[in-house]
């Protein structure tokens, strides 16, 4: 409702809630409603998708209220549960509104507030309500300190068609001694009370580097940022809140491994070797769960590819769920293990302080821009060279290897893209994506095919699956084989598109950052 002005919030130190209500009522000739208590849970995804889409979602009891941030208007009110839910598990109306916003992420409580509030209303000569005032006392923040005693929140709730009256009331309130405009909304305050900040996490890598800074400083920034991402996702991975926690965790691990490999002479040599090994272990222990997450997420595609009914594939679905739970329990155990604890703790110490005392590698003093130039050029050339060497008869390993090189190039561009002309770097990333999609399709269908064969054998062995299921799995295997074949055939075209002179020129242009 675009015509509704946004609510204005104030903080007030004018006595207790009933005292404040009484004095405002008298000072501004308002009429008073009942005092009521409520507990509000604010919900968002871990990476604030609801907030970034311009909404706030609050749950009071089983009532969900979606508010537009710009106008303060309620966009949707629905009953039902949303906490801990994925888009497909939400009440229908909310799903319609937020499904695309949430993607694969679950709604989680980001803050809880217990409030006591009193509504005051201003009426005009016709006794019509023209403005509402909500005075709230925060009783306690969930998991945090109690708010300062005597500090109240006053919100002028806008009414459509009565903006002028709302503004007038706001102005009157602002003039009352002890009342001042709030610098944060109640929502932001509640989030801060839960130990977070609105918008404090995105899955994107955000490092601010200077190409002239010594590599030892730059890698510190990169590693710390990636470590922070792993740590931020740790709890969500352990609790399996949604599949994106593990996804982001794995990407951070892979980027760390890639940096360790590509920027190998920056860290002390011994540490270098140890952490390449340890982060490989960390990546490996997350793989089984991620694979099963992916199978479960793409299950509808499986069903379609196998032209199977839900009943036909139900035994497979049950098996995938069981396996996912089992592998996830193992993963959660590994994240509680001494090995993991030591890895994270000692890695943090290394990149923060110890590298300096242990003696940096020989490239530590080199400007990071020089290293970036060198690595991007070398890895980029390797991508062009090994891609060009692949023919229709080349073994699958060639494509797998090329896929790895592409990932390395992609990460280098993500770390250091900011050193170069943005169009050039992004143009190359865009071209690379097309090629990576093809290579991903090729490898994923191979891996999935293999896995499906394994599941079919397991189902056959325990004798639980009917013939229809096994036949459907056979068709699914066939479909995956066909997909892999198609990706293999498409490769030549995709690579040709990537290897165009324009992209070679882009790669050549990604230089000079170190000078």
């Amino acid at each position: 409702m675009s015509q509704v002005p946004p609510p204005r919030e104030y903080t007030a130190s004018i006595g207790t809630l009933p005292q404040a209500a009484a004095s405002l009522q008298e000072a501004l000739s308002l009429s008073r409603g009942e005092e009521r208590r409520r507990e509000v849970r604010f919900l968002d995804t871990f990476d604030w998708r609801v907030h970034r889409a311009g909404f706030r979602l609050a749950a009071t009891g089983d009532v969900l209220e979606l508010t537009a941030l710009d106008t303060g208007a309620v966009v949707l009110r629905a009953s039902g549960e949303a906490s801990g839910r994925l888009a497909e598990e939400l009440p229908a109306q909310l799903r319609a509104k937020l499904g695309a916003v949430l993607g694969l992420r679950a709604l989680l409580p980001v803050a809880t507030l217990a409030l006591s509030d009193i509504t005051l209303v201003a009426r005009n000569a016709d006794d019509k309500i023209v403005a509402r005032l909500l005075i709230s006392a925060v009783l306690r923040h969930a998991q945090s300190r109690p708010t300062r005693r005597g500090s109240l929140r006053i919100a002028v709730v806008p009414l459509r068609g009565y903006a002028k009256e709302g503004r007038r009331l706001s102005a009157q309130i602002a003039d009352i001694p002890g009342v001042s405009p709030a610098d944060t909304t109640l929502f932001e305050e509640a989030v801060a009370g839960s130990g977070r900040q609105v918008g404090d996490y995105t899955g994107k890598l955000a490092v601010d580097l200077d190409p002239r800074q010594p590599a030892e400083d730059a890698v510190g920034v990169i590693y710390r940022s990636l470590l922070a991402t792993m740590q931020a996702n740790e709890d969500g991975v352990s609790a399996d809140l949604d599949t994106e926690f593990l996804h982001d965790f794995r990407v951070a691990v892979r980027r760390t491994r890639s940096a360790l490999k590509e920027l190998r002479d920056v860290l002390p040599a011994k540490a270098q070797e140890r952490y390449r090994r340890e982060f490989k272990w960390l990546g490996d222990i997350t793989t089984p769960t991620r694979d099963l997450d992916v199978y479960l997420l793409t299950f509808p595609d499986f069903q379609a590819s196998a032209s199977a009914s839900a009943a036909d594939l139900a035994p497979l679905h049950a098996l995938l769920l069981r396996e996912q739970r089992r592998t996830h329990a193992e993963l959660a155990r590994a994240l509680r293990s001494k090995r993991y604890g030591r890895l994270i703790e000692e890695w943090e110490r290394l990149i923060d302080v110890e590298a300096a005392t242990e003696g940096w590698g020989r490239a530590a003093g080199t400007p990071i821009g020089v290293l970036a130039d060198d690595r991007i050029r070398k890895v980029g050339r390797r991508v062009f060279r090994s891609g060009a060497a692949i023919t229709a008869d080349s073994p699958a390993e060639g494509l797998h290897d090329l896929r790895k090189r592409c990932k390395e190039l992609r990460y280098l561009l993500e770390f250091f893209g900011g050193f170069y002309d943005p169009d050039t770097a992004e143009g190359l990333i865009g071209a690379l994506k097309g090629l990576q999609d093809n290579l991903g399709e090729f490898q994923d269908s191979a891996v999935q095919h293999h896995a499906i064969d394994g599941f079919a054998e397991a189902l056959l062995a325990d004798g639980s699956a009917p013939a229809a299921t096994l036949l459907a799995l056979g068709r699914l295997g066939g479909a995956l084989e066909e997909r892999q074949h198609r990706a293999r055939v498409d490769f030549a075209d995709r690579f040709a598109a990537f290897a165009e002179p324009a992209n070679r020129e882009r790669l050549a242009a990604l230089s000079g950052a170190g000078s």
């Binding site: 609050a58 009110r77 009953s79 229908a92």
Partner: protein, 257 residues
């Protein structure tokens, strides 16, 4: 977004009363509702204590110079807004005649409100005119209050005949008996005879009750002031009959934060 219109060629049959009370019940049901008082007499507007005035009048709304949104006022009830009447609505026919595809103008004007409201309730002036033609084209459900008197049948026949001639999507038509006096034998007879003839007469009938008349004094819907009165219970029943016909999304609660 669905549209419900209360309409009768005759005046004084309980149109506004039905529009106002059904809108209030819908809002209480969690349905985000906008009531558009199209009647220049502005009775619905008055009942919500809102000034019957739209800047620029009917002309600015119909021509599209002014967005409907800008004229909307919130009522004292959560989830219920009102687009007020204006005296200039008496000339709405002429203004409609000036635009392209005049019979579908209201429908088009309402479309941008789909994100804001689940239900539009149109309270229409009594007449057959370009305004009513517009209402028929815009409405999903046309609700016709009938006083159970001998002429009602003819009025209803004329209306169904008229609606059946509309090009394009036509509204569902339902009638209900209004201002029913349980003591009058004629009322009972007419109701029995019409129900036997038409399947589209709803089973709820609204009793004639002083509380309904007193709405002009209390300036609030009777379902709010006297929710347990016979008339209010009847409106609630009427809303329960209308709701499935409108195929609104699932029921939602009244208020949260």
């Amino acid at each position: 977004m669905k549209t419900l219109a209360t309409y009768n060629i005759k005046g004084g049959v309980g149109k506004t009363s039905a529009a106002v009370n059904l809108a209030a019940l819908a809002a209480a049901d969690g349905v985000r509702t906008l009531l558009w008082d199209l009647d220049p007499q502005a009775a619905a507007t008055y009942l919500f204590r809102i000034r019957p005035r739209v800047k620029g009048g009917a002309r600015s709304l119909i021509s599209g110079r002014r967005d409907l949104e800008d004229a909307i006022k919130s009522t004292d009830q959560d989830g219920l807004d009102l687009l007020p009447a204006d005296f200039s609505y008496r000339n709405m026919d002429l203004q409609l005649d000036d635009v392209k595809r005049p019979a579908r103008r209201l429908r088009r004007l309402l479309q941008p409100l789909a994100g804001d409201y689940d239900l539009i309730v149109l309270d229409c002036p009594p007449s057959i005119s370009l305004v009513s033609e517009n209402v028929f084209a815009a409405a999903d459900l046309l609700l016709v209050p009938l006083i159970p008197a001998t002429l009602s049948e003819r009025t209803f026949d004329a209306l169904t005949e008229f609606v059946s001639q509309i090009d394009g999507p036509r509204p569902e038509i339902r009638a209900f008996f209004s201002m029913v006096d349980g003591r009058k034998r004629l009322h009972a007879e007419v109701m029995t005879s019409l129900r036997a003839r038409y399947s589209i007469v709803l089973s709820t009938s609204i009793p004639a009750e002083s509380n309904v008349e007193r709405m002009g004094l209390t300036r609030e819907p009777v379902v709010i002031t006297h929710p347990q009165s016979r008339a209010s219970l009847a409106y609630a029943e009427l809303w329960q009959e209308c709701r499935p016909l409108l195929q609104l999304a699932e029921a939602t609660p009244r208020s949260a934060t």
